[in-house]
Amino acid sequence: MYKEYADFALDFLKKKNVDYGEVRLEEHDGDAVLLKNGAVEISGFDNSIGMGIRFLTKNSLGFVAINQFDKIKIKNVLEKGLRLVKKGSKLSDHISLSNEKIYKKKYKVYQKVKLNDVGIDEKIKLLSDVDNCVEESLGRYLSLTTGTTKKYLITTEGARINSEIPLSNFFGVLTVEVNGRTAQRHLQFGNKGGYEFIRKWRLAEVLSDEYKVLRESLEKAERYPKGKIDLVVGPEITGIMVHESVGHPLEADRIFGREAAQAGESFVHRDMVGTKYGSEHVSIVDDPTLENSPGFYLFDDEGVKTRRRILVKNGVVNEFLHNRETAAVMGVKSNGAARAENYDKEVIVRMGNTFLLPGSYSWHELIENIKLGVYMKSFTEWNIDDKRYQQKYVGSEAYLIKNGKLKHPIFRPVIEITTPALWNSIDAVGRKLKLDCASCGKGEPMQGAPVNLGGPVMRIRDVRLS
C-alpha cells in the first residue's frame, strides 16, 4: 500500500519539472537477539519503512527522507527540499548523471527456510548453544540479527526495480584470560539468504576453535622475528588488505574528493587507469552478483544493472568503482556501485564483494622455500590512513615459518606498510578462495554496508614486521 506514496512523490517531482527524480521506498522487517555472558541481554523486532527521494534540478542535487506516509507531509517536505536546493544553487557544484539503460525488473533472493519464519526462540537457542562452547571465556558478546528488506525504486526516466532481499548477520566478541593476560577476537558472519545459511556457519564449532587458539596464543606464543622475512597471510587478512588498500582507494567518489572531509580521499588519481598497482600476481575484483553473499544485489540504488568489476588485472588498474555521478565526471558508464544503507541515506559509491582472484600455488608451495617467515592467519587491530596509503595489521592467530615448516605460535605480529610496497611484494597466490563477511563504513553521515572481502592465502616477500 505504500507504493502509492512513492508514486505520489515521483509525480510531484515531475510536476515540479525536475531534471531527474528518483524515489526509493524501503521496508525492513526483522529481529535481533543479544547474549552477554550467556544471558539474554535483550531481544527485539523491528518493522520500519520510509522513502528516500532524490532529485536533480538545474545541476543541483537534493535529497529528502521521510517515514510518514501522509501525502500532505510528503508534499511539504519535498517543497522544503526543493526550496533549499534552489537557495543553495549559487554555491552548487555542476552535477550530472551518466546516461544508463533503463530497467524494469523484479527480483528476490530465494530462502529455503525463511528468516522471518524461524522463531526468535530458535535464534536464542542457537546463540546459547554457541555460548555454552565458550563459557570459560572472560567475556562473551554474541548477537544475531535477521531481516528482510523490500525495495521499490522508481525514477522519472522510467526505471522500476522491485527487490526483496533477506540478510542475516552474526557478530561476536570473545575475551579470553590466561594468568591475568587477555586476548580478544571479533567474528562476523553474514549472508543474503534464508536461515539455512545460518546453520552452515557452524558457529559453535568456529567459536570453540577460536577460543582454543586465543588460549594457545596467551599460553605458548613467542615473540616474532625482527628483520626481513617472508609473510604469508591467510584469506581473512588478504581480504582486509584488498578491501582497505584496493577497494576503497579505487572508489571514484574518493578519487574526485567528494568524501574528502571524513571518509577521506585516495592516493589514486583519475589518470591511474592502466598504470601499475602491484605485481603480476595481483588481480582483484569486486562482484556484487555473487549469490547469497552479504554484498549481493543485481541492480544498484540508482537502478543500474551491476556487474563484476575488475579493479586490478595482473597488477594494473583496470577500472574504478562508479555511480552515475562519478561516471559522468569520468565520461564512462556506471558499473552499478551506488548503494545506500537505508532509505534515509544518500546513495554513494560502495564495494559489494571484493576479493583477490586465486592463483596456482598450493599451501605447500607457498611456504616450502621460506627460510624465515611468519604465517598470519587472522587479525585483531587494523587501520589505514585516509588516502589509503599506509596501513597496519596486527596478527591474532600467527605462527613462525622456519625452513619451509610451520612452527610455534607467535604473539601479535604487526605489519605496517604502504599500499604500493604491499601489492608489489606479492609473489605467490594460493588456489583456494575464501570470503568473510564485514560491515564497511563510509560516508558523511556514516553508512554501514554489508560486504564480503577475501581471497586466497598470499605470500608477501621480503618485508619487515614493526
Partner: protein, 452 residues
C-alpha cells in the same frame, strides 16, 4: 499522543510489568560540500515510536509505525490506528511467550524526579536559520586563510521527544543542534580540520571554525615523513575526542560486563595522572548530549568518572544499579547505560606553553581510524591526520605525515602531564559522543611508521 496511551493501556491489560514508550520527532537539514561547492542538500523528517517492554523478566525492544492519515484525524482514522495497535500488541505478546528470561533484570526507575531544563538546550531559530548564508560564511572564513579546497557538512537538527513509563513517569524534551565540520586543503597533503556544534545559534561560531581549519591547513605546508620513536604529544581537543569517547564507552557497566572495558576492576584505582579529572555530564549547558532525564526518566546529573587520576564509578541504569546494589547514575539508554557528554576538567596550560615544555614531540590536531587490539587492556592505535607538527626544543619546526600512535590508553592517561585551559565542545565523525575538552600534553608516546 493518544496512541502512546493506547499502546500502554493495551500492554497493561496483558500484564506487561515494565514499559517505556518514547515518541521522537526529528527534522534535519544537511548541506554537504566538496571543493567549496554544495554537492547535496538534504531535508529529513522522521517520526518514530520506540518501546521497551518487560514481562516476567523477559525483555523486548521494538517500534511502532505511525499510521497513514493524510492529514486527517477523523474518528475513522483513529479507529484504524487502534486496530493496528491491537494487532501489534498481539504480535508482541506472542514474542514474549517464546523468549527467555533475563535473570539479572531488576526493573525500571520508579522514582519521580524534578527535572531541570537543559540550559541553552533549544533555540527556535533552528526552524528559520539561513543555512546557505551560514555555510557560505564558514567556507569563506577558511578560504581567507589561503586554502584552495574546503570539504564538509553543515547539519541542523530540530528534535522533540515524549517519554512515558509504566511507573507514571512522563516528560517532554526538545533539542536543537547546529553542527559544522570543515576540512580545508592547502594542497593534496596539507590539510586542516575543525568542527563546531551548538544547541543554540548564538554560540555557533561557524566563521571561527572555518578560519581555524584554514589556519591548520596553511601551517601544515610541505609535511615530511615522521620517524618512529617516542614523542611527547600535544593532542588538540579534536585529537583527544576519540580517546574520550572510548573512556565514555568503557565506563558503561555494559562494556565492563562484556569484557570490552579497560576500566574492568578499576574502581578506586589509578587509571590516569593526577592532572586528569573526567566527568560525564548530562546537564551540561548547551551540551549536545545533554538531556533532562535518561531513557527511563531518571534525572541526569554530573558523574565523576576519573577524579585526579582515580577511576570512581561505572555508569548504571536502574536495573544494573540494583544488581550492583548502588544507585542509577541517570545514564539509561534504551538497552544499556550510555554517557551523555564526556567532560575534561580544564587545567591552566595554554597549548603554546605545553609546546615550550617539550624537547621532542608532535602537536596532533586530528586523528582518524582508531582501532583496538584489545578493549579489555586498552591496546590500540590511531592515525594522526591533517596538521601534525614536529616540536623540537620547545618550538614547532615543521609539519609531519605518515605516522601512527600505537599505544595503550591507560598508559597514555597515566602520562598526561598538562591539561589545557581552553575547553571546546565537539562531536566528530570519528567520535560521535559529545565531548567538552581542552588540549592535553601526554609524555612518552609510541609513534610507529610504515616499515619498508
Amino acid at each position: 499522543m493518544e496512541i502512546l496511551d493506547y499502546l500502554m493501556g493495551g500492554f497493561a491489560k496483558r500484564k506487561v510489568d515494565d514499559m517505556v514508550v518514547n515518541f521522537i520527532s526529528n527534522d534535519i537539514r544537511r548541506i554537504k560540500f566538496a571543493d567549496n561547492k554544495i554537492v547535496n542538500t538534504t531535508v529529513e523528517s522522521h517520526r518514530d515510536i520506540s518501546l521497551f517492554l518487560a514481562m516476567n523478566r523477559k525483555l523486548l525492544v521494538t517500534n511502532f509505525k505511525e499510521n497513514i492519515h493524510n492529514g486527517k484525524n477523523s474518528e475513522r482514522v483513529l479507529r484504524a490506528e487502534r486496530k493496528r495497535a491491537d494487532k501489534f500488541i498481539d504480535l508482541t505478546m506472542k514474542r514474549f511467550k517464546i523468549i527467555r528470561m533475563t535473570e539479572d533484570y531488576f526493573g525500571i526507575n520508579n522514582k519521580k524526579f524534578k527535572y531541570s531544563e537543559v540550559k541553552d538546550g533549544y533555540d527556535r531559530k533552528v526552524k528559520t536559520s539561513d543555512d546557505i548564508d551560514l555555510l557560505e560564511r564558514g567556507i569563506n572564513a577558511a578560504l581567507k586563510m589561503g586554502v584552495k579546497r574546503t570539504n564538509g557538512v553543515l547539519e541542523i537538527y530540530d528534535a522533540a521527544g515524549l517519554l512515558k513509563t509504566s511507573e507514571g513517569i512522563e516528560y517532554k524534551d526538545k533539542k536543537s543542534e547546529f553542527y559544522f565540520s570543515i576540512r580545508s586543503f592547502f594542497d593534496k597533503e596539507e590539510s586542516g580540520h575543525m568542527n563546531c556544534c551548538s544547541r543554540i545559534l548564538r554560540k555557533f561560531d561557524i566563521e571561527r571554525t572555518g578560519k581555524e581549519s584554514g589556519e591548520i591547513a596553511r601551517d601544515s605546508k610541505d609535511p615530511k615523513n615522521c620517524s618512529k620513536g617516542n614523542y611527547d604529544l600535544v593532542l588538540s581537543p579534536m585529537a583527544f575526542a576519540p580517546i574520550l569517547m572510548h573512556i565514555g564507552e568503557a565506563s558503561s557497566i555494559f562494556s565492563v560486563e562484556s569484557g570490552l572495558s579497560f576500566f574492568s576492576d578499576k574502581v578506586e584505582k589509578k587509571v590516569g595522572s593526577e592532572k586528569l579529572t573526567v566527568y560525564d555530564d548530562g546537564t551540561l549547558a548547551n551540551g549536545i548530549g545533554s538531556t533532562k532525564a535518561d531513557a527511563e526518566g531518571v534525572g541526569t546529573k554530573v558523574n565523576t568518572l576519573i577524579d585526579k587520576g582515580i577511576f570512581k564509578t561505572y555508569l548504571y541504569n536502574t536495573s544494573t544499579a540494583r544488581r550492583y546494589k548502588t544507585e542509577s547514575t541517570g545514564n539509561a539508554g534504551m538497552i544499556s547505560p550510555v554517557p551523555w557528554n564526556i567532560v575534561v576538567k580544564p587545567g591552566k596550560e595554554s597549548i603554546n606553553r605545553m609546546i615550550k615544555n617539550i624537547k621532542k614531540g608532535i602537536y596532533v590536531t586530528n586523528v582518524w581510524y582508531t582501532r583496538f587490539t584489545n578493549y579489555h587492556t586498552g591496546d590500540f592505535s590511531t592515525i594522526p591526520r591533517d596538521g601534525a607538527f614536529l616540536i623540537r626544543n620547545g618550538k614547532i619546526t615543521g609539519s609531519l605525515k605518515g605516522m601512527r600512535i600505537s599505544e595503550n590508553i591507560i598508559k597514555m592517561l597515566m602520562n598526561i602531564d598538562a591539561v589545557g585551559d581552553k575547553p571546546v565542545h565537539l562531536r566528530t565523525w570519528e567520535a560521535d559522543m559529545p565531548v567538552y575538552t581542552p588540549a592535553v600534553l601526554i609524555r612518552n608516546c609510541n609513534i610507529t611508521t610504515p616499515v619498508l
